[in-house]
């Protein structure tokens, strides 16, 4: 790729051609606010909060949808830009349910962050407000249109990435809304409940139902790990509060999945803290499985294996390892069967 030189906020920058102003700014640590942008999606240029001044251009240009050019001189932080951003955000807030106190997205809401950055205290545009009922009765995805800023990210990610085309815009102007086919619950559509739309929504309009009141971003610790389900091996972020997984997200810059997951990866985590988890070793006594200490359980198994090995030879014992366990555990399991028991009778269930 040929290199291009340009200036952003008086900083001279070399960048690969084909990139947008937003991408180059980010690479160089210059922050430009965005609302309708997601690196997983085609440039859209609708919300206009990313407008920048480009020398010689007649209008302000959206940084997310404008490619860099040689010799370009860009300013991202002038007073006129600040005023435009402020007006845009004020307008959005004028028809936005400001329930930040209990909103799941507080602390990771791009609208809230922008209002804060721009120091918006009161609303200049008091006027009519929508009140939508929240009634999508699928068990996984909460849709609260009162918090929707019509950025179209959910519509586009479902179309461009998941390619299910569940959402569309209906109506125009003040009554514009994001809807589903025949306004049905997601579960009655062809929606795959992947939650890609949640992952892209910049506000609290789309959230995880199961995570409701379980913990907000400043209370949780994010741990990067790998999905326990299929062989794709998606990278997940487990969001943990007080020793419990309360939400699963994924980093748009990480892993093979770049922020996307399927329903299993995103919503299939609560088995970890399920009350039916085995919490103590069990040993069968008089036909019944009863709780035992670790020492007793390990000793029972070790004694029995040793006895069988002595009487019938090592090949009378067999082991099955697990495709759900780690490499290290699988390695140890086969080593145990081979080196400790002395047999090659080791296999796994993964063919099934």
């Amino acid at each position: 790729m040929p290199k291009i030189s340009l200036t952003i906020n008086d900083k001279k920058i070399e960048a690969e051609s084909g990139q947008t102003i937003l991408e180059v700014a980010k690479e160089n640590g210059i922050k430009i606010p965005t609302l309708c942008h997601d690196p997983r999606l085609e440039p859209y240029g609708a919300c206009r909060v990313c407008l920048v001044e480009v020398e010689g251009a007649r209008n302000f240009l959206p940084a997310c949808a404008t490619e860099i050019a040689n010799g370009m001189v860009v300013k991202t932080n002038t007073i006129p830009l600040y005023k435009i951003r402020r007006t845009i955000v004020e307008l959005l807030l004028s028809d936005h349910e400001l329930s930040c106190v209990t909103c799941e997205s507080a602390g990771q809401c791009q609208l809230q962050d922008l209002a804060y950055e721009l120091g918006i205290e009161e609303n200049r545009f008091e006027g009519e407000r929508h009140t939508y009922t929240i009634e999508d009765y699928n068990p996984l995805i909460e849709r609260d249109l009162n918090k929707c800023i019509l950025c179209g990210r959910c519509v586009r990610i479902c179309e461009e990435v998941q390619q299910d085309r569940i959402y569309t815009f209906a109506n125009r102007g003040f009554d514009a809304v994001v809807t589903t086919p025949y306004d049905r619950s997601l579960i009655e559509t062809k929606c795959e409940l992947c939650g890609q739309c949640i992952s892209t929504c910049p506000t609290g309009a789309l959230t995880e139902k199961m995570s409701r009141y379980k913990g907000r971003i400043w209370e949780i610790e994010k741990v990067k790990t790998i999905c326990p389900y299929c062989g794709c091996g998606c990278e997940l972020e487990l969001q943990v509060k007080d020793g419990e997984i309360v939400r699963v997200s994924s980093d748009v810059e990480g892993g093979i999945n770049k922020g996307n997951t399927c329903a299993k990866g995103r919503f299939g985590y609560d088995f970890v803290n399920h009350p039916d988890r085995l919490t103590s070793p069990l040993v069968r006594k008089d036909g019944k499985l009863v709780e035992a200490s670790w020492d007793e359980a390990i000793k029972t198994v070790a004694d029995k294996f040793s006895r069988i090995k002595k009487r019938h030879g090592p090949d009378a014992i067999a082991g099955l390892s697990s495709a759900k366990c780690t490499n290290e555990e699988n390695y140890l399991m086969q080593k145990f069967m081979r080196a400790v028991i002395g047999t090659n009778n080791i296999d796994h269930c993964a063919r099934l």
Binding site: V240, K264, G268, L278, T279, S280, F305, S306, N327
Partner: protein, 529 residues
Amino acid sequence: MTNSIADIYKADVILVIGSNTTENHPIVALEMKRAVSDFAAEIIVIDPREIRLTEYAHTWLSQKPGTDVAVLNGLMNVIIGEGLEDKKFIENRTESYEELKKVVANYTPEEVEKISGIPADSLREAARLFASAKNGAIFYCMGITQHTTGTDNVLSIANLAMLTGNIGRPGTGVNPLRGQNNVQGACDMGALPGCISGYQNVCDSGIIDKCKDIWGVKLPKKPGLSITEMTDAALRGEVKAIYILGENPMLSDPDLSHVKKAFEKLDFLVVQDIFLTETAELADVVLPGVTFAEKDGTFTNTERRVQRVRRAITPVSNARPDWLIISDLAKAMGYDMDYTTVAEITKEIADITPTYGGITFERISGESVQWPCPDATHPGTPILHTEKFARGLGKFHTVEYRPPAEEPDKEYPFILTTGRLLYHFHTGTMTRHSMGLDEVCKEARVEINPEDAKKFKIKDDDWVELASRRGRVKVKACVTHRVPKGTIFVPFHFKESPINMLTNSALDPISKIPELKVCAVRVKKTRSK
């Protein structure tokens, strides 16, 4: 996979056979869809069922279950017949081409239509499309392997890839999609009766010596038993004890009553798992292991990428990480298996396993690496066989079509095929304990074609009894065109409808994989569960 998920979009034609990709490998499916929408690729789906991926496909061929070898040979018959093969690749990189040519000559599209039900002209068209690709990639899953002819199916796929020169470049390859998150790793690590980690043969004296050096024990020089052989040996009283780590064969294995009998015959059954599964209920000792969220380690995905698993929470209650349990057991049996951290095990794996030689815990904590990765400076291998095959030249294996072990007849007129659904995983140990997912999808339903349903007066949600020579199961009906006439489909996640009571345990002679995808059943409407 010989190739990487990240290069799927470089394929011009993607052939998907025996993989319900959107439900079972959703993120790989995203890449396939992207290849179509953004890069004008074409998808060919070969699957008995009208799976969701067909919506994005150029062509869908519905074969009779268990006839894949005939279909693949048919594709090659057309390609060779019309001179569309990659002559240079065949010449430079392969051997035994003449033998292949001779065998596939008999599989004319008309012959294949008789066997598979795929119209001859559709087969021709698909063959031409695949051969026309500059880069053609083949993806498959359990729909290919879970047959008595599974090995033959896989060999046929390799033949097709070599015939069209689709090996060793981005956007090509023979790409098995691993069903469970660490099947690849379990195999790589030597949870196999014939190999230790890195597919090193247990009958090789060099390997036995190496193990003696590192493990301090001389290993027996003969392969052990595979899972299905274990149950048979248990029934014969030869195997007395089984130790099961994190698996639930009482729901996943074919012919469940046979498995149950085998486990009951054992002197001693140990199960280490996170829930009291159907299998654990039969155990003499149950050891509580932990979930992925409670441990450190590595998983290897379907594209051979070794990735870091990080502990997010401390083990619940008195449960323990599986690696600790195994080493405690070893110590109790007088073997010094003393690791203080998981990283030490990763190190030993690297020492003993050439393909993992450059994979250390520190490295994997910063980046993921695709094996083979022989040493610390090696960048890993995104694409296999770029210059040559492991054995040098790629050998065409001639494969003849053999029918499935059990075919429908008067008494059992339907073909039953099994599989998974988007919202559940394997035997449901994890997903059925995930409240949201289980609410979305609570019960098994048998997919049955409207014409068949009409014959038996079956409507949606009616209870149906399915019976094979091995057992019977009741399940609700889902009347749908997704399945062809004569074939029914049931997922195996649900203990309420344990469909593996019915499936056939007949094995592929080489891979020892049972024929879970085809057995003969009869269908009857019943009043209730």
